[in-house]
């Protein structure tokens, strides 16, 4: 019973593109790499002793390795094809997680954080495309609550990392110095290049900006999100004063203060690489705008009025939670619906008349 086939019947999508998950993911890894490499240099190279510590490199590689291994193990448990562990998404999560922890954290923070990020944050929800929250930030939120001291106090000086004494005397990040009114000043130039204490991959604004611009050029991220996020955070930060800012910060002119808010903390990393995550951000342009605005407002509120000096992690997580709601309220009208409505209104008016 063979029939000649005249129509090819298939379900949508009918238009195919050369884009694939591995291609997108590995490109994003490439754009993230400069900031990670810069972090490894700042927190590895000791300019006084002229030695290089491999600790930040180990943190990055360890986080990626644990992330990929966890992904493979969970895929095996869920009876999914194992090759998906190497599609790059687990590598991004591991890399992002390493970039949002201090390079001085103990090994177990890296291992458990990366494990929780993939196992709980991603695979328990159904794997790539089904997770509600950004997995790397889930891992960071977990370890921040689990091991608060290394996560919030153990910072090292760039180009002079003293990992042996980090428990006794640790440096202050720009934001923690300002919010705890410490007289440690930071120049905007250093903030821009990344010569400041902080998380491994968040300090170098220029590298993150470069990666972010490429991300937007390649259309892997929507320009609305980082722009709205950074602008709203900076503006709201300018509006709310610090309770007791140190003297050097008070003497900054307004444009330098704005630059300080933009370049310090994890704002660039969060705005370019985390708030633009395809899985955990809204679909519609209007929704993305609302999402980024919410992130910006929450970040500024946590920075100025909350208990933590930086709020990028929690604000993105909170807004991730709101994404289904935002998507529902910004659903565009179906094609032709507005004309139909107008026609009906006209008809009913004519009838009434």
């Amino acid at each position: 019973m063979e029939q000649e086939q005249k129509f090819i019947v298939s379900s949508s999508p009918h238009i195919r593109d050369v884009e694939s998950i591995p291609k997108i993911m590995w490109t994003v890894v490439l754009f993230l790499a400069p900031a990670a490499v810069a972090g490894c240099y700042f927190f590895g190279w000791d300019r006084f002793n002229r030695t290089f510590s491999f600790r930040p490199v180990l943190v990055v590689l360890g986080a990626i390795l644990v992330a990929v291994a966890t992904e493979a193990a969970m895929l095996h448990l869920r009876k999914q094809p194992l090759r998906r562990a190497l599609d790059g998404s687990a590598v991004i999560t591991g890399l992002l997680f390493a970039m949002v922890v201090s390079p001085a954290v103990p090994w177990y923070v890296v291992v458990f954080g990366s494990f929780i990020a993939i196992a709980v944050g991603k695979q328990l929800f159904g794997g790539l495309g089904h997770n509600i929250w950004n997995p790397a930030l889930v891992g960071r939120a977990f370890v921040t609550l689990a091991w608060a001291e290394p996560m919030t106090r153990w910072w090292v000086e760039p180009l002079n990392p003293a990992y042996a004494t980090v428990q006794a005397a640790s440096a202050a990040t720009p934001l923690s110095a300002v919010s705890l009114s410490k007289e440690v000043s930071f120049s905007i130039k250093n903030l821009f290049w990344g010569y400041v204490p902080g998380c491994l991959g968040e300090t170098s604004a220029i590298m993150l900006l470069l990666g972010g611009i490429f991300l937007i050029i390649f259309k892997y991220a929507d320009w609305r999100v980082p722009l709205t996020y950074i602008a709203s955070t900076v503006l709201l930060c300018m509006a709310i004063p610090y309770k007791n800012a140190p003297q050097w910060f008070k003497s900054l002119p307004w444009y330098e203060e704005m630059a300080f808010y933009a370049f310090s903390g994890g704002l660039f990393l969060g705005a370019f690489f985390m708030a633009t995550d395809m899985v955990t951000s809204p679909i519609t342009p209007k929704g993305r705008f609302i999402f980024a605005l919410g992130c910006g407002i929450l970040t500024a509120l946590i920075r100025k009025l909350g208990g933590y000096p930086e709020g990028v992690c929690y604000s993105i997580l909170i807004m991730n939670t709101c994404v289904p709601l935002i998507d529902r309220f910004t659903k565009p009208a179906r094609f032709g619906l507005s004309t139909l409505k107008a026609q009906r209104q006209k008809q009913s008016q004519a009838k009434a008349a």
Binding site: P106, Y108, L124, L145, A146, W147
Partner: protein
């Protein structure tokens, strides 16, 4: 209706109708006080005492309580037993009383106790109601012991207050304090509920598979029986024809 035995009701409460993992009622104290095994066990015994007492009283009084005001009446009975527990813990175990704090008076509004009073004790005889109370209490104890021991080991590195490992070496893993904080409780209970749901699903799948196998078996039996009948008929026919042919020959 199936016949109910004292022992059967008791066991049902522990596993099949476990208040925390299966019925998912009374989760508030489970989340709040399971920071250490001691607290968990103390809470479970307090709740069990109130549960057994209220089940006994309500089952005995059920006939005299008008339907319209039964909930307030149940609450009065439960509150009486809760007050007993509160005063006794305050007098004899002041430390536990301090740790559990508001959650002892809150036993009054615990869903497990009111739920069992409404759903079971008010409709069943006294003996079975006591069994149900003990069973649900033991189920609650089991859940609290599981959750609180995991949380205490992971979150504080100790069990029943005894330090399991010395944590002050630099290389050793420090306990993850998230586990004794509220987010850890939500995370752990979520994972445990997911585990039990997965087990239940797998069991149901197995049972349906067995059911199919059973049906197939029956079908096969019927088919073979029919085949046997047909064979027998044919044989009979052949015999008959042989007989008839024999007769004709004769």
């Amino acid at each position: 209706m199936e016949k109910r035995s004292f022992f059967g009701e008791l066991v049902r409460g522990i596993w099949k109708d476990n208040p925390t993992f299966v019925l998912m009622i009374g989760l508030c104290p489970v989340l709040a006080i399971t920071t250490s095994l001691k607290n968990g066990v103390g809470m479970a015994f307090a709740a069990t005492f109130v549960l057994v007492g209220s089940n006994l009283m309500i089952s005995a009084l059920a006939r005299f309580i008008p339907d319209g005001v039964r909930i307030p009446c149940f609450i009065v009975v439960i509150a009486a037993f809760t007050t007993i527990v509160e005063l006794v813990t305050a007098a004899y175990t002041p430390e536990l009383y301090k740790e559990l704090g508001i959650f002892i008076p809150l036993i009054v509004v615990n869903c497990i106790i009111l739920g069992r009073a409404e759903a079971y004790a008010s409709k069943n005889p006294i003996g079975l109601s006591i069994a149900d109370g003990i069973g649900e209490g033991l189920g609650f104890l089991l859940a609290l012991v599981i959750i609180s021991s995991i949380r205490e080991v992971l979150g504080a590195g100790s069990l029943w207050g005894y330090q399991l490992v010395r944590w002050n070496e630099v290389t050793a893993i420090k306990p993850a304090s998230i586990m004794v904080l509220p987010p850890g409780a939500f995370l752990l209970i979520g994972l445990l509920l997911g585990f039990f749901a997965w087990r239940k699903k797998r069991k149901a799948e197995k049972e349906t598979a067995q059911g199919y196998a059973f049906q197939e078996g029956i079908v096969a039996e019927i088919e073979s029986a029919e085949r046997a009948k047909e064979v027998a008929k044919k044989e009979k026919k052949e015999e008959k024809s042989e007989e008839s042919s024999g007769e004709s020959q004769a």
